[in-house]
Symmetry: C2
């Protein structure tokens, strides 16, 4: 997958995925007025082992002080730097169904440095409709949006149009895609896709739920 490739020689993908969690915890400490913390404190706040915390943070640089700990503000700054939160990233959402509308209205993005600059849909009946303060536009506007700085595309369409939308995003020059459609996207090298699949998450929970309910038959034969 393109993600691993992009992580080559850099910070491990698993570490990157934990950085936002650390940052969130640090913001919490800062709000409480805590100015210095240990890896143990950060571990407790994030549910990660302290050795892992230290290992993760050491990937970014040496921002702690032995015998003392980490300066909350400085560490938060360094992590936000690593995550590219120094400026706002323009985001476009494609697909104005229930999920797309909910994402468009979601307040949480702005505080994390993401600015929703466009809402798009392939259905021209929706064009011009006003949602969350933005006017719905056709996907053919994508090249123009990329020229204006669009960096990240969010796909919230049904499965059957997701690949087409993905191709249009890629052709327009978008290289980071968050895919909510329950389908695998094929993209060229250099494009990073992350997938969020709501049904899959529930299916994984159902797997565990089932394990609990049934007697622990490790020999699964007798079932069917």
């Amino acid at each position: 997958m393109s993600i691993d490739q992009s992580a080559r020689r850099g910070i491990p993908e698993v570490t990157v995925a934990r950085l936002p969690e650390y940052l969130r915890a640090l913001r919490g400490f800062a709000e409480q007025g805590t100015t210095s913390i240990s890896s143990e404190d950060l571990a407790a706040a994030t549910g990660v082992r302290s050795a892992k915390v230290r290992k993760d943070l050491s990937q970014l640089g040496s921002y702690g002080v032995r015998g003392v700990g980490y300066d909350v503000d400085h560490l938060a700054y360094q992590i936000s730097l690593a995550l590219g939160q120094t400026h706002d990233w323009p985001v476009a959402i494609v697909g104005m169904g229930n999920l797309g509308r909910a994402l468009a209205a979601y307040r949480g993005f702005a505080t994390k440095g993401f600015r929703i600059v466009a809402l798009l849909d392939q259905n021209e009946l929706l064009h011009g409709e006003r949602i969350a303060g933005l006017v719905v536009r056709p996907v053919t506007d994508l090249p123009e949006l990329v020229l204006e700085g669009l960096a990240i595309g969010v796909i919230a369409t049904p499965a059957d149009s997701a690949q087409d939308v993905s191709d249009r995003l890629v052709d327009a020059g978008v290289r980071s895609i968050l895919n909510f459609a329950p389908t695998m996207l094929t993209v060229p090298d250099g494009v990073v896709v992350r997938k969020v699949d709501l049904s899959t998450e529930l299916q994984i929970l159902a797997f565990h739920e089932q394990r609990k309910v049934e007697p622990p038959t490790h020999l699964q034969e007798a079932r069917a």
Copy 2:
């Protein structure tokens, strides 16, 4: 984390997470009328290496035939059995903000064996409101719902009430939780929590996006 614990001696969590993907691909093959496939075919359809496909499937049992491949319908049946898709799982969504409403209206769950049986909110002004064919209820109804079979709780509240809602779900007897709130939940052993964090996903994309834009300075000193 509770998930790893529950996977002890069983199918590895990473494998479980791929099963829904295989199942989706198999359903696709079945629709096209394909009755038999090789691990190579399934690998191509899911973007996974064929060796991994075989290893994953062998965790469930020996459902292939050497020299021939896998029977599409039989394999799909076995996977859906493992995932607990033999019956519907009752799901409740707590938090009727934008995201909660979108999830309530989402069509994709039903086809995967999930039935949304209740919509809850702590704000009593919303009680009685009708959303997606269901009436919004107070969270104090949870014990009653569990008695009626409720198995999975979805938390779609703001961060600051998520832990409280989680506690109420757990107290009522729910042991599988899908958390959309951007906060870490503390739950007792035996309760499985999966977290979907939209901002975190975007932050991970921003990390990669930033790496692309900047010159590949592997010596990060010169930046700050």
